[in-house]
Amino acid sequence: MAETMRADAGRSRGPKASKDELLGYYRQMLLIRRFEERAGQLYGMGLIGGFCHLYIGQEAVVIGMQAAMAEGDQVITGYRDHGHMLACGMEANGVMAELTGRSGGYSRGKGGSMHMFSREKNFFGGHGIVGAQVSLGTGIAFANKYRKNDAVCVAYFGDGAANQGQVYESFNMASLWKLPVVYIVENNQYAMGTAVQRSSSETHLYKRGVSFNIPGEEVDGMDVVAVREAGRKALARARKGDGPTLLEMKTYRYRGHSMSDPAKYRTREEVDEVKAHRDPIDHVKALLIELGHADEEALKEIDRDIRAIVTASAEFAQQSPEPDAGELMTDILVGA
């Protein structure tokens, strides 16, 4: 059984976030959740093909980190990427239309769910090969240092990806050269059907940087404010020129690995337990009400707004035409 953390155990009521901040996090996390639910539906209807990995349950990680980041910082991740893109400010329409493989998508239908990018929003993908983003993110950080542009790259990867060799080759270089990168392990406790205990000799993944002199910290990845605070420290350290930090976000994915995963490797009770006690959105919702920042009606209003955005994106994604056949041979080489 996966190691679970009880919600309230380590969950601090402080550091305090302001009313506007909390409302913002609530809204952004809800956008990701509703977007993903809709993507799941479109998949069932055959409008999305191939692999589709939903981020439901992990929303606090990207929203907390985004809240800590500065303009110009970059993000890179794996194939479970819809949440990261929305957090970066990419449009729901463009993301959903990429999922349906239409010309209105961020990669004009050529990349799909796992491979999407936005230069404008400093989002560098969307990578289908487990672990690749860690070296790539390290390279983006190398470029930051080279250019002295003061930007930090945030590289996200999974607990499963944490066993790829290139992760440690990258750790070594990043620490050796004090590169401005923050490594985020999204430890959702499973890599496909493999629980962390079955794949990792050291299950406290934040310790994985120790022999490279990379400080690590375990963070409640279901608590958006805790994520933000840890992110701020790590980003500041990187920006100062002190090199990488490794943050292990303890989180959980509610759905199967991809759409075709029956998820028989964990119990229904385990999933229900997390949903009931650790849900990142419910947590902020409870805070908002408890602190008197919002009542049920105000939250419902936000919900309606979000639903409208998501519904519009689903429509756009169905209306947008398929890419022109001429696109087949474009973008293979620059200038060719």
């Binding site: 209807m45 191939g50 692999f51 050529k110 075709s260 029956p262 398929e322 056949a325």
Partner: protein
């Protein structure tokens, strides 16, 4: 009010599934979230969860029904909550949810009840060899009983038989044991052989490929599964630098009896990084044996041969063929020799070469061409290294025309190699320049229309054949 529960779509390649098990019976009251059935897709058994509350009025599809098309109503639910006619009709998979909400309405057309066939799928019916086959197979003794089996199960049986026979054989890879294989190819192996011989690895291809190569140096016979060959690119250094070259570098002292296997090539809509054909990559390398079977008999017979072979073998399977059923000889130890192509259809007008999934397209093309009066010979290469050019050349000497078909990119490809061999050894027999059919020269796009345009199929083969026959 009556609602229909529909067969949900649960995977990228799913068009139909088997209704493995009903967990409710007619007359049962069910609640939302209750698991009502198990459905087998090409990859997994999924639970179907009820969305609505009600009483099961009728099970429209019997337990054990095979090949139930997505969206077919599978049960009828009586729901007396007429006050709130929810737009949700039907079932969804428990984890993840299957068909979304607004897929269909209550008044979808009435469905013909599937006739109440036996609850279990009937056992495979043996039939004499040659039924349905195109030409009697010289490899199979006359009168041999044939049984139907999927490519997936044929591969599994090959591994299981070799593991029973030789304790040095073990299987290692991601999700091969407890999960029963990402594509279910290793289903049941953990139960029979235990976790010492069926080993789940972390996601660390370079590491476990090297570990496998090392174990092989020490005399074990690893079968290393790559979840797909796309991920073997992490490990290609060990496949080539460690496995393929060691015998040579050690002056013949150190052998590397290892099989690297897994699905190769494009699946369905999984885009550029997950859709690559490595046939020519590995076939380029001296020191490797490279096999790419089409049907179940070859999958089984060649995998058994590969496991017994003392050399490193790259064994390229195809995801889109895993679920396909073929007839296979019902003999205790079915082995197919490595390095021999197979003439799958005898013809006199043109030679078509293909391997793996393209063989199916080539056979279809041959049918279409026959209707046009062109009699095509179809050669299934089966092994890419060593390549059986003799069989191809002999055929071209008869037909004088050659079309090669492969799923991967054409440049520097398998077809290029065959053309070179034919031009070198049968130049005087050719009546037309040989032609290659292959994937478009771009990374594979995700968009449905672009993917379709990029991938070769029977139509491309028909066109190429007509071109070399000057019949346009």
């Amino acid at each position: 009010m009556s609602l229909q529960i529909l067969m949900p779509a649960l995977s990228p390649t799913m068009e139909e599934g088997n209704l493995a098990k009903w967990l409710v019976k007619e007359g049962d009251a069910i609640a939302p979230g209750q698991i009502i059935a198990e459905i087998e897709t090409d990859k997994a058994t999924m639970e179907v969860e009820a969305v609505d509350e009600g009483v099961i009025e009728a099970l429209l599809v019997p337990e054990g029904a095979q090949g139930v098309k997505v969206n077919t109503p599978i049960a009828e639910l009586r729901n007396d909550d007429t006050a709130s006619p929810s737009p949700l009709r039907g079932g969804s998979a428990a984890e993840p949810p299957g068909r979304g909400a607004d897929v269909t309405s209550a008044d979808s057309p009435p469905v013909a009840k599937t006739d109440p066939s036996p609850a279990r799928p009937p056992p495979p019916t043996p039939s004499p060899q040659g039924g349905g086959g195109l030409s009697a197979d010289p490899e199979i003794p006359a009168g041999t009983q044939m049984v139907k089996i999927t490519v997936r199960d044929a591969l599994r049986d090959a591994m299981a038989e070799e593991m029973r026979r030789d304790r040095d054989v073990f299987v290692i890879g991601e999700e091969v044991a407890q999960y029963q294989g990402a594509y279910k190819v290793t289903r049941g192996l953990l139960e029979e052989f235990g976790s010492d011989r069926v080993v789940d690895t972390p996601i660390t291809e370079h590491g476990f490929a090297g570990l496998g190569a090392g174990a092989a140096m020490a005399g074990l016979k690893p079968v290393v599964e790559f979840m797909t060959f796309n991920f073997a690119m992490q490990a290609i250094d060990h496949i080539i630098n460690s496995s393929a070259k060691t015998l040579y570098m050690s002056g013949g002292q150190i052998t590397n009896p290892i099989v690297f296997r897994g699905p190769n090539g494009a699946a369905s809509r999984v885009a550029a990084q997950h859709s690559q054909d490595y046939s020519s990559w590995y076939a380029h390398v001296p020191g490797l044996i490279v096999i790419a079977p089409y049907d179940a008999a070859d999958a089984k017979g060649l995998l058994k041969a590969a496991i017994r072979n003392p050399n490193p073998v790259v064994f390229l399977e195809h995801e889109m063929l895993y679920g396909t059923e073929f007839e296979i000889p019902d003999v205790p130890d079915w082995i197919v020799p490595i390095g021999k192509a197979k003439v799958r259809r005898v013809g006199r007008d043109v030679t078509i070469t293909a391997h793996a999934r393209m063989v199916g397209f080539a056979l279809k093309a041959a049918e279409l061409l026959a209707a046009d009066g062109i009699d095509a010979e179809v050669i299934d290469l089966r092994t890419l290294r060593p390549l059986d050019t003799a069989t191809v050349i002999e055929s071209v000497k008869k037909t004088s025309r050659l079309v090669t078909a492969e799923e991967g990119w054409g440049r520097m490809g398998v077809g290029a190699e065959i053309c070179a061999a034919v031009v070198a050894e049968a130049f005087d027999y050719l009546d037309a320049p040989p032609t290659r059919v292959h994937q478009i020269d771009s990374p594979l796009a995700y968009a449905a229309n672009l993917e379709k345009l990029a991938m070769p199929n029977e139509t491309n083969i028909v066109e190429a054949v007509k071109a070399v026959c000057y019949r346009r």
